[in-house]
Protein backbone atom coordinates (compact mmCIF):
# COMPACT_ATOMS: atom_id res chain seq x y z
CA UNK A 1 0.00 0.00 0.00
CA UNK A 2 1.06 3.60 -0.53
CA UNK A 3 1.47 6.19 2.20
CA UNK A 4 -1.60 7.96 0.76
CA UNK A 5 -3.77 4.84 1.14
CA UNK A 6 -2.47 4.12 4.63
CA UNK A 7 -3.32 7.63 5.85
CA UNK A 8 -6.90 7.27 4.62
CA UNK A 9 -7.25 3.93 6.41
CA UNK A 10 -5.67 5.54 9.46
CA UNK A 11 -8.10 8.45 9.53
CA UNK A 12 -11.12 6.15 9.11
CA UNK A 13 -9.77 3.94 11.89
CA UNK A 14 -9.26 6.69 14.47
CA UNK A 15 -12.68 8.19 13.67
CA UNK A 16 -14.25 4.77 14.23
CA UNK A 17 -12.27 4.27 17.44
CA UNK A 18 -13.41 7.63 18.77
CA UNK A 19 -17.08 7.41 17.83
CA UNK A 20 -17.87 3.72 18.10
CA UNK A 21 -15.18 1.72 19.92
CA UNK A 22 -14.01 3.88 22.83
CA UNK A 23 -17.03 6.18 22.45
CA UNK A 24 -14.90 9.07 23.67
CA UNK A 25 -16.52 11.36 21.08
CA UNK A 26 -13.68 13.88 21.23
CA UNK A 27 -14.27 14.66 17.55
CA UNK A 28 -17.57 16.21 18.56
CA UNK A 29 -15.99 18.55 21.11
CA UNK A 30 -14.88 22.16 20.88
CA UNK A 31 -11.92 21.48 23.15
CA UNK A 32 -10.55 19.00 20.62
CA UNK A 33 -10.89 21.23 17.54
CA UNK A 34 -9.50 24.29 19.33
CA UNK A 35 -6.44 22.41 20.58
CA UNK A 36 -5.99 20.56 17.28
CA UNK A 37 -5.88 23.85 15.38
CA UNK A 38 -3.01 24.95 17.64
CA UNK A 39 -1.25 21.61 17.18
CA UNK A 40 -1.60 21.68 13.38
CA UNK A 41 0.08 25.09 13.21
CA UNK A 42 3.09 23.82 15.14
CA UNK A 43 3.06 20.60 13.15
CA UNK A 44 3.52 22.63 9.97
CA UNK A 45 6.47 24.46 11.54
CA UNK A 46 8.29 21.45 13.00
CA UNK A 47 7.47 19.09 10.15
CA UNK A 48 8.53 21.83 7.73
CA UNK A 49 11.97 21.71 9.38
CA UNK A 50 12.16 17.90 9.23
CA UNK A 51 11.11 17.75 5.57
CA UNK A 52 12.53 21.06 4.27
CA UNK A 53 16.07 20.23 5.45
CA UNK A 54 15.70 16.69 4.15
CA UNK A 55 16.05 15.08 7.57
CA UNK A 56 13.20 12.86 6.35
CA UNK A 57 12.87 12.17 2.63
CA UNK A 58 9.91 10.68 0.78
CA UNK A 59 9.52 8.37 -2.19
CA UNK A 60 7.28 9.76 -4.93
CA UNK A 61 5.79 6.31 -5.51
CA UNK A 62 4.21 6.36 -2.04
CA UNK A 63 2.77 9.91 -2.02
CA UNK A 64 0.67 12.19 -4.22
CA UNK A 65 3.63 14.51 -4.90
CA UNK A 66 7.09 13.62 -6.19
CA UNK A 67 10.13 12.28 -4.37
CA UNK A 68 12.20 14.60 -2.19
CA UNK A 69 14.93 15.83 -4.60
CA UNK A 70 18.43 14.60 -3.64
CA UNK A 71 20.14 17.99 -3.38
CA UNK A 72 17.45 20.61 -2.87
CA UNK A 73 14.36 21.11 -0.73
CA UNK A 74 10.99 19.91 -2.08
CA UNK A 75 8.31 22.44 -3.08
CA UNK A 76 7.25 24.72 -0.22
CA UNK A 77 3.67 24.45 -1.41
CA UNK A 78 2.22 22.54 -4.36
CA UNK A 79 3.16 19.19 -5.92
CA UNK A 80 1.23 17.46 -3.15
CA UNK A 81 3.17 19.31 -0.45
CA UNK A 82 2.41 21.90 2.18
CA UNK A 83 5.32 23.62 3.95
CA UNK A 84 7.70 21.07 2.36
CA UNK A 85 5.87 18.07 3.84
CA UNK A 86 3.69 15.67 1.84
CA UNK A 87 0.04 16.50 2.53
CA UNK A 88 -0.29 12.89 3.72
CA UNK A 89 1.66 14.00 6.80
CA UNK A 90 -1.31 16.12 7.87
CA UNK A 91 -3.46 13.00 7.99
CA UNK A 92 -0.69 11.01 9.68
CA UNK A 93 -0.46 13.75 12.32
CA UNK A 94 -4.23 13.76 12.71
CA UNK A 95 -4.15 10.01 13.42
CA UNK A 96 -1.33 10.43 15.93
CA UNK A 97 -3.03 13.26 17.82
CA UNK A 98 -6.52 11.75 17.78
CA UNK A 99 -5.38 8.29 18.90
CA UNK A 100 -3.44 9.92 21.73
CA UNK A 101 -6.37 12.00 22.92
CA UNK A 102 -8.84 9.11 22.63
CA UNK A 103 -6.66 7.07 24.98
CA UNK A 104 -6.02 9.99 27.32
CA UNK A 105 -9.71 10.84 27.65
CA UNK A 106 -10.77 7.19 27.83
CA UNK A 107 -8.31 6.50 30.68
CA UNK A 108 -9.72 9.48 32.53
CA UNK A 109 -13.24 8.17 31.97
CA UNK A 110 -12.44 4.81 33.45
CA UNK A 111 -10.89 6.55 36.42
CA UNK A 112 -7.14 6.43 35.79
CA UNK A 113 -5.84 9.68 37.30
CA UNK A 114 -8.85 11.74 36.38
CA UNK A 115 -7.60 14.04 39.13
CA UNK A 116 -5.96 16.44 39.43
CA UNK A 117 -7.95 18.12 36.65
CA UNK A 118 -6.20 20.81 34.61
CA UNK A 119 -6.52 24.47 35.46
CA UNK A 120 -7.17 27.08 36.48
CA UNK A 121 -4.53 29.21 34.68
CA UNK A 122 -2.20 31.15 36.94
CA UNK A 123 -3.22 34.73 37.71
CA UNK A 124 -0.09 36.02 35.96
CA UNK A 125 -1.31 34.91 32.54
CA UNK A 126 -5.07 35.19 32.94
CA UNK A 127 -5.24 38.32 30.82
CA UNK A 128 -3.38 36.61 27.95
CA UNK A 129 -5.54 33.51 27.83
CA UNK A 130 -8.77 35.39 28.51
CA UNK A 131 -9.93 32.92 31.13
CA UNK A 132 -13.45 32.78 32.31
Amino acid sequence: MTYTQLTIIGVLSVVALDLYVFKTQILRRKVFWASYSIVIFFQLVTNGILTGFGIVEYDGKAIIGSSTPPDSPPAFIGNGRLVFAPIEDLLFGFCLVVLTLILWVWLGRVGVQREPMSGPPRKSIERFVGSK
Partner: protein, 111 residues
Amino acid sequence: MSKFAYLSVLLACLVGTAWLEYFLRTKVYRRTIRLVLTVIPVVLAFSIWDAYAIAHGHWKFDPRYVSGITTVANIPLDEILFFIVIPICSILSFEAVRSARNWQAGDEGKK
Protein backbone atom coordinates in the same frame (compact mmCIF):
# COMPACT_ATOMS: atom_id res chain seq x y z
CA MET B 1 23.06 20.62 11.22
CA SER B 2 24.31 17.40 12.69
CA LYS B 3 23.38 14.08 14.13
CA PHE B 4 21.34 16.02 16.64
CA ALA B 5 19.12 17.78 14.08
CA TYR B 6 16.08 15.55 14.48
CA LEU B 7 16.56 15.29 18.26
CA SER B 8 16.83 19.09 18.50
CA VAL B 9 13.43 19.49 16.87
CA LEU B 10 11.96 17.12 19.45
CA LEU B 11 13.68 18.96 22.29
CA ALA B 12 12.26 22.25 20.97
CA CYS B 13 8.77 20.69 21.06
CA LEU B 14 9.20 19.69 24.70
CA VAL B 15 10.66 23.04 25.73
CA GLY B 16 8.06 24.95 23.73
CA THR B 17 5.16 23.26 25.53
CA ALA B 18 6.66 22.90 29.02
CA TRP B 19 5.40 26.32 30.20
CA LEU B 20 1.80 25.12 29.81
CA GLU B 21 2.28 22.72 32.70
CA TYR B 22 3.17 25.61 35.00
CA PHE B 23 1.19 28.59 33.72
CA LEU B 24 -1.99 26.79 32.67
CA ARG B 25 -1.67 24.13 35.35
CA THR B 26 -2.28 21.38 32.82
CA LYS B 27 -1.11 18.73 35.32
CA VAL B 28 -0.20 16.36 32.52
CA TYR B 29 3.28 15.34 33.67
CA ARG B 30 1.89 15.07 37.17
CA ARG B 31 -0.61 12.43 35.99
CA THR B 32 2.32 10.19 35.08
CA ILE B 33 0.57 6.83 35.08
CA ARG B 34 -2.19 8.07 32.81
CA LEU B 35 0.38 9.69 30.52
CA VAL B 36 2.49 6.54 30.28
CA LEU B 37 -0.55 4.32 29.66
CA THR B 38 -1.62 6.69 26.87
CA VAL B 39 1.76 6.82 25.18
CA ILE B 40 2.59 3.08 25.18
CA PRO B 41 -0.15 1.96 22.73
CA VAL B 42 0.54 5.01 20.55
CA VAL B 43 4.24 4.14 20.30
CA LEU B 44 3.36 0.52 19.45
CA ALA B 45 0.80 1.40 16.78
CA PHE B 46 2.91 4.05 15.09
CA SER B 47 6.10 1.98 15.26
CA ILE B 48 4.30 -0.69 13.23
CA TRP B 49 3.29 1.95 10.69
CA ASP B 50 6.83 3.35 10.68
CA ALA B 51 8.37 -0.10 10.24
CA TYR B 52 6.09 -0.78 7.27
CA ALA B 53 6.87 2.61 5.72
CA ILE B 54 10.63 2.16 6.17
CA ALA B 55 10.53 -1.41 4.82
CA HIS B 56 8.60 -0.28 1.73
CA GLY B 57 10.69 2.84 1.21
CA HIS B 58 7.88 5.34 1.80
CA TRP B 59 10.37 7.50 3.68
CA LYS B 60 13.97 7.39 4.75
CA PHE B 61 16.19 9.37 7.07
CA ASP B 62 19.30 11.27 6.11
CA PRO B 63 21.99 9.58 8.24
CA ARG B 64 23.74 12.95 8.70
CA TYR B 65 20.80 14.33 10.68
CA VAL B 66 19.66 11.47 12.91
CA SER B 67 21.31 10.00 15.99
CA GLY B 68 22.41 6.84 14.23
CA ILE B 69 20.90 4.69 16.97
CA THR B 70 18.49 2.20 15.43
CA THR B 71 15.85 0.24 17.31
CA VAL B 72 13.69 -2.66 16.10
CA ALA B 73 12.77 -3.00 12.42
CA ASN B 74 15.27 -0.31 11.35
CA ILE B 75 13.33 2.40 13.17
CA PRO B 76 15.68 5.21 14.27
CA LEU B 77 15.56 6.03 17.98
CA ASP B 78 14.65 9.58 16.91
CA GLU B 79 11.37 8.28 15.47
CA ILE B 80 10.44 6.36 18.62
CA LEU B 81 11.04 9.56 20.61
CA PHE B 82 8.86 11.44 18.11
CA PHE B 83 5.98 9.07 18.94
CA ILE B 84 6.47 9.91 22.62
CA VAL B 85 7.11 13.66 22.38
CA ILE B 86 4.29 14.59 19.99
CA PRO B 87 1.59 12.84 22.06
CA ILE B 88 2.85 14.65 25.17
CA CYS B 89 2.70 18.01 23.35
CA SER B 90 -0.80 17.19 22.06
CA ILE B 91 -2.11 16.35 25.51
CA LEU B 92 -0.53 19.51 26.93
CA SER B 93 -2.27 21.61 24.25
CA PHE B 94 -5.57 19.85 24.87
CA GLU B 95 -5.41 20.32 28.63
CA ALA B 96 -4.21 23.91 28.22
CA VAL B 97 -7.25 24.81 26.12
CA ARG B 98 -9.41 23.10 28.68
CA SER B 99 -7.77 25.00 31.50
CA ALA B 100 -8.23 28.34 29.74
CA ARG B 101 -11.77 27.76 28.50
CA ASN B 102 -13.33 25.34 30.97
CA TRP B 103 -14.71 23.24 28.14
CA GLN B 104 -15.80 19.67 28.86
CA ALA B 105 -13.86 16.77 27.37
CA GLY B 106 -16.03 13.91 28.56
CA ASP B 107 -13.82 12.52 31.34
CA GLU B 108 -15.00 14.78 34.14
CA GLY B 109 -16.98 12.12 35.94
CA LYS B 110 -20.13 13.00 37.78
CA LYS B 111 -19.86 15.84 40.21
